[in-house]
Symmetry: C2
Subunit: 248 residues, 2 copies
């Protein structure tokens, strides 16, 4: 065990921030940490947009239906980016058809997401707290418009950061035996029975998001979650293709 | 600056490993670190397969065309996993149609990839070295078959770990001003001119993978990379859909 691992094992999403700015040097360090993350084929197919404009922050908070996005001290939007590489190639007259392949979308998604986690862990190691915002995809078209994302740029997630003004409990996770396998993916059966203890633990977990009621058991959350079909999110592939990605 | 950030800023892909095992407790800690990573809607839609079977490691090394995969002390394959959640819901008679949406693929990809980076950083913080293996997707169907991945399980990347037996140079990355923007994605122009200095730096970088020649300039790598169309990778969307994902 060391400080790095301790930071990771203590990760809690922070959704309430003190009214305290983050030193621009820290932001620059976080971007550096992203820059040094592994990147597929050295293509560095992602970019980072820092949103400091309060109106834009509020517009993104509205997309995500999460007011705390607008109250964060710093908001990063991580974008899958094949636009920069497209321009580099086009300046040399190179055909860029391959960028329409799903492969080039996925490669760029890997780059953006690996870098995202390093930003969050680095921030937490400095005493900041934050939350990963998948909710910017509720209306990916609106998020993209707010940030002026052109062809081959797709906002994949946000990271809201600030100095924590809450101390949530550590959220209990699936036991290792149900998510770590050796050599082969297992045949699942009797999962509700195997998850009984975990369901109890989750039910006892005290969620700051709605302090008045105990959270549902994990299996109930998963089962009922199958009914969650946010209209905007059901059109993600369509939007992705509008941006040029994933045509085959 | 602290140890965590130092580890991240010093990240180098390690492709040559000492003949030294990794303590199983360390592997368990790395899985724990993954477990505590942020997960979308608490759905924990990913799993980890540790590949210890030498024949399977060699088969995966062949898919990736990277012999060092088989020589690593530990090989993690990170899989996007909606199969476990599908079974949980089906045991309750719940319809699981939504899993065919691109949204549920992307959510699971985020979970798997954020956890991947925490594993790698944690490993590096313990003196291990490793490399992220996108190459398992060269023939995603074969990788999936080797590991017995059923419906709604998609291997997204590998992480090969071991004690480093090489000391690569730190790879130079794109300067911040070309990948970190404020409030708005920029209009790119004259990128070759803006990248002149960076191109020089990359050209001077000493790559251990082919020590006999200097690496190409970044812009040249990007431009020529547009011609790289691995047949297996050009069928990724098709394969994903075969696994049930991304039908709309």
């Amino acid at each position: 065990m060391n400080k790095t691992i301790e930071t990771m094992l203590n990760h809690k999403s922070i959704r309430k921030f003190k009214d305290q700015e983050i030193d621009p040097e820290i932001i620059s360090t976080l971007v550096d940490v992203a820059r040094h993350t592994s990147t597929s084929n050295f293509m560095q197919s992602y970019s980072i947009i820092s949103v400091s404009d309060q109106e834009k922050k509020e517009a993104i908070a509205k997309v995500g239906n999460q007011p705390y996005i607008a109250e964060s001290a710093h908001l990063f939007i991580m974008v899958i980016d094949q636009n920069r590489n497209m321009h580099i190639a086009k300046e040399k007259g190179q055909d860029t058809e391959v960028l329409h392949s799903f492969d080039r979308f996925l490669i760029a998604a890997c780059d953006a997401l690996l870098a995202s986690q390093n930003i969050l862990t680095a921030a937490e190691s400095l005493g900041l707290g934050g939350v990963v915002l998948g909710s910017i995809l509720n209306q990916a078209d609106q998020t993209a418009e707010i940030l002026g994302c052109p062809e081959f740029v797709f906002p994949i997630l946000g990271i809201a950061l600030g100095y924590p003004d809450q101390t949530p409990q550590l959220k209990p996770r699936l036991p290792q035996e149900l998510m770590h396998f050796e050599n082969e993916y297992p045949q699942h059966e009797n999962l509700h029975q195997k998850l009984q203890d975990y369901d109890k633990t989750v039910h006892e977990y005290y969620d700051l998001r709605d302090a008045n009621r105990r959270v549902d058991q994990f299996t109930k959350q998963i089962t009922e979650g199958m009914n969650r079909k946010h209209p905007g999110r059901m059109k993600l592939l369509e939007f992705l293709q509008e941006k040029g990605f994933a045509k085959y």
